[in-house]
Amino acid sequence: MLKEISRKNAIHIMLVYTGGCNGCDIEIVNAVLSPFYDIEQYKVILTWNPREADILAVTGPVTKKMEPALKEIYAAIPEPKLVAAIGSCAINGGPYANLGGDLGSSDQIVGGVSKVIPVDANIPGCPPRPEDVLQAVVSVVPLLAKKR
């Protein structure tokens, strides 16, 4: 009980950008966390430290270069944790998924986030509207509270 309440009152989001176009990234940091949309009113706070994060938000297709880093960050986050893939790039690679065309996959891009770490929530859009992100986060928070 106590654990649930305290967890619900301080959700920390860590944002990792794995090689997208910056669009999703900026929408999260500077729109959703800005005073206009203000996600902090739901007690959701941005952090840059994986040890204190609860939700890992990933934007952009995962490049080969960022793959080990992403895995390491994921491992560093204590349980319980959720992963949200934000934007079409993070969901399935977006326009970059088909980099090699008919010739096969790309040398630089691994693909969507789910190919690297397990994903709990997908927020589609290029980039998703801040309202959508807000709604997704608000609906995901109870999940986190229930997790042990």
Binding site: Y17, G60, T63, G94, D107, I109
Partner: protein, 396 residues
Amino acid sequence: MADVDRKDRAEVEVPLGMVHSALLEPFRIRLFVDDEVVVDAEITYDTAHRGIERMMEGMPVQKGLILTERICGICSHIHIWNGTRMVERGLGIEVPQRAHHIRVIGNEMERLHSHLLYLGHAFEILGHETFSMRCFMFREPVQNMLFFLSGNRVHYTIPVIGGIRPRCDIDKDKKQTLLAMLKSLDEELKAFGNRVINDTLIVSRIKDIGYLSKEDAIKYGALGPNMRASGVNFDWRIKVPEYKDNFDFEVIVREGGTVLDRVACRLFECLESIKIIKQALETLPDEEPINVGYELGRMGYSTSYNEAARGEIYDSCSLDDLGRIQSYINRTPSMSSLSAMEVSCIGDHLTDATITIVSCDPCLTCTNRVTVVDENKDKEYILEPEDIRRLARRKI
């Protein structure tokens, strides 16, 4: 063996990145520090390489140009505009003046939101949360204007070969609303600008640091506001006919070359942008916004330059008989501003380095596009998200 030399001179090496609160984008900067003074800096940026140019090879040009927009989510309009402009120049396609006006409006709104984002980010790194939030608050109306104009907050896709997309056309109601939105933004921004420039706290923190001399700016190829803040008077907007022939504006040049000048330069550029948008809205010619009577075909090598929010942007490519893209090249301003950023960190206190980096406005997603990734060479990556913001606050 440059690396060995650096380590000899420096006591400690401070790596920032790949994932770091001051940087947002994944790149790593290694600062070589001697008694808290930065003696050398080195940037590694190849994490976000996605190979867009390679992907565009052989694509139909209309499709390929939409992809250029996905190079960057901050300056998306200028990429597609410059690409379209290049094809139009190469094939000699006529574009109605109304379309030019709306493209300019798109670009200036983008400059506004990019500069406001920059200011917000800079103040956040300085630890001045109030100003930072004010900037993000100013940015929302601009994003709303863009949303209102085109239907998307980030990737607007306004230009298309021959003109603009009909959904981005500005009718009478749209014009009135946009003008009203601009007016209130203009007033608020002017008041805020005054407040920032006269704020002793902010000014004492950012004056005299991150110095980039005029010679260095030219030598290392700083571009855009970074270059103009160091006293180099150049802006592609005074050369590009879309701007030159129709609008009346000033190029902001400052002599100082410090972080303060870079911040002030962008603040004043915001006001100039509002001026241009106003003029464009008021003098919008009454005609069809798109010319559909063109034929695609073989095009020799064509180029186009333009002024993005961060400086000069260059596109070039050629088309084959069926109008498919061949060897697309896109050079973005951050590419060459980065080396200037390395230089301007040197000689400062360690705590000033992050604001210097941010004041040069690095945007890595476009720069990474042209970097060759050699996976075997550089396997190391550093995950040290120490909270630099806390450090910065202590300094104040």
